[in-house]
């Protein structure tokens, strides 16, 4: 019943819903929030509906370090010594089965298996195998849970990315961050509940696009807001040259006075909402630049993330920013880091790409932990699919490429109610098929929602006659990795 209420209210129209509530409750503040906090229950000063998660949440916020282009699991997390021994041998067709191939390797006459050029070691108390390409990640191995049995349905970037973000390969559906904004609201009155940070890596890139953080059929208030490193961190946030804070205030007072007259004439609640939205915009103008300013971060923090963190727009700077945003109550911080699409020249490219992200990814874990925030922040690291165990095109032991592979790949999750220091799922000795504990993308999504106190089968939105979910029509929570 509670969820019915929620769904109903949000569904019919959050804006009108809020204004109606405010009518009921007298002169409670309305529209003064980007998205109300429907989660923490801390609504004492806003007079809004208290949060109604489906059950007690473990995580309050998510930071998703999306590795766009699909990093090779075989060079990073999924140790397959046998592949080296079988170097150059054709992948047995019994293993490949009926797996469809991309147009890039479909016409290859042979599928020569190639082992990883990079070495692996066991680390930490968990004795988890991690590649030498990730020395910093190796040090936080006891804080993370490596899942080696992810699998997906798509074999090309666009549909695979869209599948990860929206639960469907095609279609204009809401992104995961939008779903969380819709389901849980915002913790911070001055910041959007879903923010996006982009960085470009060193290797072969595949584009990212704003449709990936679109709110689909949900209201645009749940759309991801892209924060960028320039002097206008949020679109149109900055006052024009020649306008200052004092004059902006004066300006707003005029506008609001005139809008008030209009309200008296028309009696339309939308007008009061508009007045509040202008106030909110004004507050964002102060709050966002403060958050974006990394210059006041102490030296030890910069050292932790690496000196790249001083350069705006790098992955390291974005990780640090992600921590700040998250710390300030942004529900979902989505990073995208391009450059993992290594069809050829993989050893060189993946080495520099791994170096680009390793230190800052690990630093984020360490930093959250030292602030006591890791327990309530779910951190995710991974791409949209895996890469083949055979080479795309010609190969030598130290130069080869790998094509897209949907049947198995690795990601890691940390904090936010995920068991630390474990690994989950196994692939066969060829690194081609999952042999134990497969995790479908929808299972992964269901698990994320679960950690935030949401039942993926109940977080629904009715649109054009159908009840939509992030997990479409499937998905089960991976209970074995939950704390």
């Amino acid at each position: 019943m509670q969820k019915d209420f929620l769904e109903h209210g949000l569904n019919s129209n959050r804006r009108r819903f809020l204004s109606r509530l405010s009518l009921g409750l007298g002169s409670a503040a309305l529209g003064s929030l980007l998205v109300p906090d429907l989660f923490s229950g801390d609504s004492s000063d806003s007079g809004l509906a208290p949060g109604i998660p489906h059950f007690a949440p473990k995580a309050k916020r998510v930071i998703y370090l999306f590795q766009n282009g699909a990093p090779s699991q075989l060079e990073l997390f999924d140790y397959k010594p046998r592949l080296r021994e079988m170097m150059g041998q054709d992948l047995p067709s019994s293993i490949r089965g009926n797996q469809r191939l991309t147009g890039m390797t479909a016409n290859q006459t042979a599928f020569p298996m190639v082992g990883s050029f990079a070495n692996f070691q066991q680390h930490g108390e968990s004795r988890n195998w991690i590649s030498d390409l990730l020395p910093y990640t190796s040090k936080v191995v006891d804080d993370i849970c490596v899942i080696r049995s992810l699998h997906t349905e798509a074999i090309n970037h666009d549909p695979a990315l869209t599948f990860f973000q929206t639960g469907a390969q095609q279609g204009n559906r809401p992104s995961m961050g939008s779903w969380l904004s819709y389901g849980l609201g915002s913790e911070n009155k001055n910041l959007p509940s879903f923010t996006v940070l982009l960085s470009r890596g060193k290797g072969n890139s595949q584009g990212v696009y704003s449709k990936l953080w679109s709110s689909g059929f949900l209201e645009s208030i749940h759309q991801g807001v892209q924060f960028s490193s320039g002097d206008d961190p949020v679109l149109y946030l900055k006052d024009p040259d020649g306008m200052n804070k004092y004059e902006r205030r004066k300006f707003l007072d005029q506008v609001s006075q005139l809008n008030q007259l209009s309200y008296e004439q028309f009696g339309d609640p939308e007008i009061s909402t508009k007045i509040q939205q202008y106030e909110m915009a004004y507050r964002m103008q102060t709050a966002v630049p403060e958050i974006m300013d990394l210059s006041k971060e102490p030296d030890d923090i910069i050292k932790l993330y690496g000196t790249d963190a001083m350069t705006p727009g790098t992955f390291a700077a974005n990780c640090l920013l992600a921590r700040k945003l998250s710390e300030n109550g942004v529900r979902f911080v989505q990073l995208y880091h391009q450059g993992w699409d290594h069809h050829g020249n993989l050893p060189n490219e993946i080495a520099s790409q791994a170096k680009d992200v390793d230190q800052a990814s690990a630093a984020l874990i360490t930093d959250l932990k030292q602030r006591g925030l890791l327990d309530e922040t779910l951190v995710i690291w991974g791409g949209e699919f895996g890469r083949t165990n055979y080479s795309q095109g010609k190969w030598t032991a130290d130069n080869y490429g790998r094509d897209h592979h949907p049947r198995c790949f690795s990601i890691w999750m940390a904090g936010g109610g995920i068991k630390p220091g474990i690994s989950y799922g196994e692939t066969d000795e060829f690194g081609y098929n999952v042999v134990k504990d497969p995790v479908h993308v929808h299972d992964f999504q269901a698990t994320i929602l679960n950690r935030l106190g949401l039942n993926h089968e109940k977080l629904i939105y009715k649109h054009l006659g159908r009840r939509y979910r992030l997990t479409d029509v499937s998905g089960k929570v991976i209970n074995d990795i939950l704390v």
């Binding site: 019919s12 819903f17 960028s228 202008y278």
Partner: protein
């Protein structure tokens, strides 16, 4: 403890909320609303069944539980499969009806819907079903699947109020709620409303003066006719159609490179302006290429069905994408033209509406014979701007026959269009909708529950158009009339304009919708006539003032006892700013343009490939074109448009949301387009030989489209004076503000007074009323 307080608060709020939503029809019927004396299957029962029962006891044969089907009268009364002595429904006897026993049971092991479904019936719903069974459990065909009929005009008390038939229906419904219509809006408001609705542009001062001065009874109609004749009418009408047709300037996937289908868009504008009848408008778009001896224009119209996204991502499986395109066309056809969500039947029989998966693929078959491939080229040069089948349009053709195409250069121009193969491509049911899981073969056909396909018609898109415009087709006219109503009144008579099926909302004024639908057909599908009919009604001409009482009784304005008040569309916000400042370049059509956009958006989100990897902003006249000509790169659509709820043109979109957010406030305050327009208008007004107050009044009239009140003039004049003093003290701020935008400043100007007036004007652009249709 804390939790308990919140729970209490929650209860309190839900009660308040429920109380307030009592008068709201639609999906929010409260459990306290009175049970009607005569329960109607269509209006009371089917919405419950559809939402809560059909998923397991409906049209989908594969998911059907216990062999019970409740959407179909015959099966619902049959003996139960699992218990042949029992019946789901026994006419007149709820206690003997398994349906009632199950929904009212306290035993969760037999309760329906089962708790595991997360669905629940409230007590009102249970009572309704009980009463319906008591009254005989009479089924009715779904309202939208029966042919619309013109019912006699309802009798109304206040016969003077009605200006045309629409008003009879609206007034009689109002009377049922004891509501009375608002008085007619003041002329200034009325003209702004009319001008925005018909042309998407604010009225000029000359037009305002003319209309205000014209005291003749025909003044309003004259204004309507004048606006309907304006070429901007075609642009305004096209705007909605571009959403429906998912028109964009890029291919849409991955690298998302350029596409040149704008000549199709120019055709749409021209068609509205020449008032092509709706049946022709659609037939050409669906099947122009199949008309014997088709002209170039007729073929161009079929670009409609090629506006979907097309991949250029290397390495994709060709057939996967080709199938995707056919699916897109099928879904667009269903949603846009017959208002049903057939797409649900792509993977399985429809769960709510009587469409089988087979019927989905029968409709799909009409669109499955195109001479196309899934991927014909990856990103490249001009040869990739359209995909086969395509036409080339020469400059000669533009000069002589396709005069509506705004082609200014001599470059090769290609446009994707429809064209069928000589041999029929076989169509199969795709299991689970998967391209690589073909099942049984099917031939082209249409859903029987709507209207069976006449075997005398050719089994191609031309035959499909004939089916669509068969007078017996119950949906075609209703769907378009409803979409147009939505464009004029802000929401459709059926709110879910893309879904008139069983899960869609019910019409708020079913008799009116049907009357208009029949009338539209009877008058040759004449679109301008229909528009005029709507805007001529007394309903339309009411004031938009919302009294406290009306807000309480009818917060959503379902009963239209006042004119709807809502923020104008994204593109029109831009148009209003440019037009009122005098910057608007009124050129119609041509390639889309790239106005100011924050730097780096395309660049950071690009793979680094293709002509659209960098945003090359245009200059000069192209900075001041209407919003509908702003370039839409699908994967990174223009941010201002998105923030004001424009479609991202990913898929066919019938209904845009109307949100009110802080990001919109930031745009109105800081977008260089708004600042520049303020500057340009300020510099013009500044040199006029007028007193400050009169300058303020002039700006106000141009932007807000009415004369300001004394109080408003006072506030704004004071603000002007304050700013004048400030800028004289802080000259560099004035210099900076006056440097925004590329439009040149006059050689000589008083920068302080211009800057001060500029602030006043920016404030005017930021008023809620300015960008609101009220």
């Amino acid at each position: 403890m804390k939790k308990r307080i919140y729970y209490f608060l929650f209860l309190l709020i839900s009660v308040l909320y429920t109380v307030q939503s009592c008068n709201y029809i639609g999906d929010a019927q409260s459990s306290e609303e009175k049970i009607p004396d005569q329960v109607s299957y269509n209006f009371d029962i089917r919405p419950i069944f559809s939402d809560k029962c059909f998923a397991c006891h409906g049209p989908d044969a594969n998911k059907r539980q216990a062999g019970l089907r409740l959407d179909n009268e015959e099966s619902a009364f049959k003996a139960l499969k699992e218990n042949p002595s029992g019946h789901a429904l026994v006419s007149g006897k709820p206690q003997l009806s398994e349906v009632f026993m199950r929904i009212s049971s306290k035993d969760t092991s037999i309760l329906m819907p089962p708790p595991s479904s997360n669905l629940k019936l409230n007590s009102r719903e249970i009572d309704l079903i009980e009463k319906w069974i008591s009254q005989g459990a009479k089924y009715e065909t779904h309202w939208s699947f029966t042919r619309p009929k013109k019912s006699p005009l309802p009798k109304v008390k206040d016969t003077k109020w009605a200006k045309n038939e629409i008003d009879h229906f609206i007034l009689s419904k109002m009377a049922q709620k004891n509501l009375e219509p608002n008085k007619e809006a003041d002329k200034e408001y009325l003209l702004k409303r009319l001008s925005l609705d018909l042309t998407g542009l604010p009225p000029s001062i000359a037009m305002m003066n003319q209309f205000m001065a014209d005291k003749t009874p025909g003044a309003y109609e004259k204004a309507v006719d004048q606006l309907l004749k304006s070429p901007a009418y075609g642009e305004k009408m096209a705007l909605h159609w571009l959403d429906v047709a998912r028109y964009a300037d890029s291919h849409g996937f991955q690298d998302d490179s350029y596409r040149s289908s704008w000549p199709w868009r120019d055709w749409v504008i021209n068609s509205f302006n020449t008032n092509l009848s709706y049946d022709q408008f659609i037939t050409l778009q669906l099947a122009g290429d199949l008309i014997p001896n088709a002209t170039k224009e007729q073929i161009l119209a079929t670009g409609f069905n090629r506006n979907h996204k097309i991949t250029e991502e290397g390495g994709v499986v060709d057939e996967e994408y080709r199938v995707q395109y056919v699916i897109d066309r099928t879904n667009t056809f269903s949603k846009a033209l017959i208002g049903v969500t057939l797409e649900c039947a792509q993977c399985h029989d429809h769960k709510y509406d009587p469409f089988s998966q087979k019927e989905y693929y029968q409709l799909y078959a009409f669109f499955n014979n195109v001479k196309e491939v899934g991927i014909s080229s990856t990103i490249g040069g001009p040869e990739t701007y359209a995909k086969n089948p395509m036409i080339q349009i020469s400059n000669d053709e533009v000069k002589n026959i396709l005069k509506f195409i705004n082609k200014q250069d001599t470059n090769k121009l290609i446009v994707s269009v429809m064209g069928d193969r000589d041999t029929l491509r076989k169509t199969y049911i795709l299991k689970r909708g998967a391209y690589d899981a073909p099942g049984k073969e099917v031939v082209a056909g249409t859903p029987k529950s709507i209207l069976a396909f006449d075997n005398n018609l050719p089994k191609n898109r031309l035959g499909l158009s004939k089916w669509l415009f068969d007078k017996r087709n119950p949906l075609t006219s209703r769907v378009f009339v409803n979409q147009l109503w939505q464009e004029i009144f802000g929401r459709g008579i059926v709110k879910t304009a893309g879904d008139m099926g069983m899960q869609g909302e019910l019409p708020t004024h079913p008799e009116l919708l049907d009357w208009l639908a029949v009338d539209f057909m009877e008058h040759g599908w004449d679109i301008k006539r229909l528009v005029k009919q709507m805007v001529s009604s007394a309903t339309y001409r009411q004031s938009a003032v919302i009294s406290k009482d009306k807000l309480k009784v009818d917060p959503e304005n379902i009963f239209l006892s006042r004119a709807p008040r809502y923020r104008i569309k994204a593109e029109l916000v831009r148009d209003l700013v440019l037009s009122s400042s005098g910057l608007l370049v009124k050129t119609i059509g041509g390639p889309s343009v790239k106005p100011y956009q924050p730097s780096g958006l395309w660049e950071t989100a690009s793979s680094g490939r293709g002509v659209l990897r960098v945003y090359r902003q245009d200059h000069g006249a192209d900075l001041y074109r209407r919003g509908m000509y702003t370039f839409v790169k699908r994967t990174v659509p223009p941010p201002v448009m998105g923030i004001f709820d424009a479609s991202n043109r990913d898929q066919c979109e019938i209904v845009r949301l109307k949100t009110n957010t802080p990001l919109q406030a930031l745009i109105m305050m800081n977008d260089p387009t708004v600042i520049e327009a303020s500057r340009v208008l300020a510099s013009k007004i500044d040199v006029e030989p007028l007193k400050i107050q009169d300058k303020v009044i002039k700006a106000f009239r141009l932007i807000v489209c009415r004369k300001p009140t004394e109080n408003e003039v006072k506030i704004l004049s004071q603000y002007y004076n304050d700013q004048l003093v400030t800028f004289k003290k802080e000259q560099s701020r004035a210099d900076k503000l006056l440097a925004i935008g590329e439009y040149p400043n006059p050689e000589k100007m008083n920068k302080y007074s211009v800057a001060a007036m500029m602030q006043v004007i920016t404030a005017l652009y930021n008023l809620e009323e300015t960008i609101t249709r009220s």
